[in-house]
């Protein structure tokens, strides 16, 4: 059978792709021995139906012969077998071994770069790299997804809709709370106005109340997401055909969510309290 063989620096690779976390048998490469190979489960065989054929169930410790296209033949000992949600078909050897096969030194055909999206956008990172190496061919992760990209886009859209609905539900809940509270105290509010308490003081007090409710919601939500739901999905990811899916958060997303909740909370407190507070004093105190 044919398979794609890549050479990697295990220490550097572990900072980006973390294939070592997806071993189903044996161990990951340590970069010391050049006669070892890690196989994808779909290449090794024995882990379900392989779309492009397999080696019929190779085990850790078995030896496999690899015939490279440049006529070099090597025999490797299988050190481990990995499996990821996508097609697990690569054969992985050390970068030193790959360089010796290809007769090159200190060069690479591909570099995977992990960026911190909390600090900048992916497009800005691409621009920065382009400034250093203008001839480098660069692709975003989404460009490499191929058929999976619409699914990712759909999941992002679902997350956006769920967030928007959550904000609306939170705003309606706070609106109802403040409205019922303010309406039931309209006589009290009318008396306060009659004795000279400014309308805005009453409105501010209800806005503070709604901010308090919002902050409580944010705290409870954060505890649920970061201490319960997040860790649960981390250990029990959703198994989709494209791969395992768990919850992902960025600080920008969290900041936007908190900000939109606060704005919605303030509006939900402002509107009903302002409506009740602007009511005619005599109507409020029941003298008309």
């Amino acid at each position: 059978m044919s398979a794609r063989i890549v050479g990697i620096d295990p220490d550097e690779e572990n900072k980006v792709l973390k294939l070592a976390d997806h071993m189903v048998s044996g161990e990951y490469l340590d970069g010391i021995n050049s006669d070892e190979i890690v196989l994808g489960a779909d290449t090794a065989g024995g882990y379900g139906e392989a779309p492009e054929g397999d080696l019929g169930g190779v085990k850790v410790g078995d030896e496999v012969q690899v015939n490279y296209s440049n006529t070099i033949t090597r025999i490797y000992k299988v050190k481990g077998i990995y499996k990821i949600g996508f097609y697990s078909g690569l054969g992985i050897i050390s970068s030193q071994e790959a360089e010796s096969i290809l007769s090159v030194h200190d060069s690479a055909s591909q570099i995977f770069v992990k960026v911190n999206l909390d600090q900048d956008t992916i497009d800005n990172y691409l621009e920065s790299v382009k400034g250093i190496a203008p001839n480098l061919e660069m692709r975003k992760y989404s460009d490499l997804l191929g058929e999976e990209e619409p699914i990712i886009t759909a999941l992002d859209a679902i997350a956006l809709v769920v967030s928007a609905v959550s904000v609306v539900v939170a705003a309606i809940t706070i609106f109802a709370l403040i409205y019922v509270n303010a309406y039931s105290k309209r006589r009290q509010i009318g008396i306060l106005k009659a004795i000279g308490i400014k309308q805005r003081v009453t409105v501010y007090s209800y806005i503070f109340q709604s901010i308090f409710y919002t902050l409580c919601g944010i705290i409870v939500g954060s505890v649920l997401v970061f201490l319960l739901i997040g860790p649960f999905f981390e250990s029990h990811p959703l198994e989709l055909p494209m791969g395992d899916v768990s919850l992902a958060f960025s600080s920008v997303m969290i900041f936007v969510s908190i900000l939109s909740l606060l704005v919605a909370g303030i509006l939900a407190g402002l509107i009903p309290s302002w409506r009740v507070a602007k009511q005619n004093i005599l109507k409020a105190i029941g003298r008309v």
Binding site: Q188, L192, I195, I197, N280, L282, I285, R287, V288
Partner: protein, 223 residues
């Protein structure tokens, strides 16, 4: 001094209600005046116009030569806080606040010094014989005591005029007597100007003058 000229109030509707049809009167500083008349005579309507919690349809109101109807809504709110005090018929205290807190609330809104207004509120409650009830909540007080707290609250900012809208209408005879005697005492000892709406003829003995209204018009003034 309060000077009212040709005060009219019409409530719009399919059939407009002419609650005040042109009332003119004067109340001098230090007076205790009762506004009396039958139901629908316009007593409370007149009090609400004088107290700036409603807008008359026509006419003028001068309080110490200030044409108060020319003030903006915000200025009226400030004027009420600084110069006018109110005692309502019932349920006028904030249930979640103690007697002391209810009394110092207007002083707090006025921006008075923290220690100063607390001390003054306590003194005011002593004046209305509630010095022993400072930390009691409204539901722990009798109706008469609640009204005396309301009187103390109305006086905390040393108003020029105290308005009382049927302050004893929901009180028993003994409590009514205590509240009315308190108002009389405040008028005599502190020269507090008081304008009170009442429908009880026997309340006349506590006041200096009675302004009688009938069908939205001044009927007579009784000394």
């Amino acid at each position: 001094m309060i000077k009212v000229e040709n005060l009219k109030k019409t409530y719009p509707g399919k059939v407009p209600t002419f609650a005040l049809k042109g009332v003119s009167l004067q109340v001098v500083n230090g007076e205790f005046v009762a506004i009396m008349g039958r139901s629908g005579a316009g007593k409370s309507t007149l009090l609400h116009q004088l107290g700036l919690i409603d807008k008359p349809t026509e006419g003028e109101i001068f309080i110490d030569k200030v044409n108060v109807l020319e003030l903006s809504d915000a200025q009226k709110t400030g004027f009420r806080l600084q110069h006018l005090g109110y005692v309502f018929q019932e349920h006028a205290l904030i249930a979640e606040m103690t007697a002391l807190e209810n009394v110092y609330l207007p002083a707090l809104a006025f921006g008075d010094n923290h220690n100063h207004y607390k001390k003054r509120a306590a003194e005011m409650l002593k004046t209305v014989d509630l010095g022993h009830r400072l930390d009691h909540y409204p539901d722990e007080l009798s109706g008469g005591e609640q009204q005396r707290v309301a009187v103390a609250r109305a006086l905390i900012n040393k108003p020029k005029i105290l308005f009382a809208d049927e302050p004893v209408a929901n009180l028993d005879t003994d409590s009514s007597k205590v509240v009315l005697e308190l108002l009389q005492k405040l008028n005599k000892e502190m020269k507090q100007t008081i304008i009170m709406v009442t429908h009880e003829p026997e309340d006349k003995k506590y006041v200096n003058r009675v302004i009688w209204l009938k069908d939205g018009l001044l009927e007579k003034i009784e000394d």
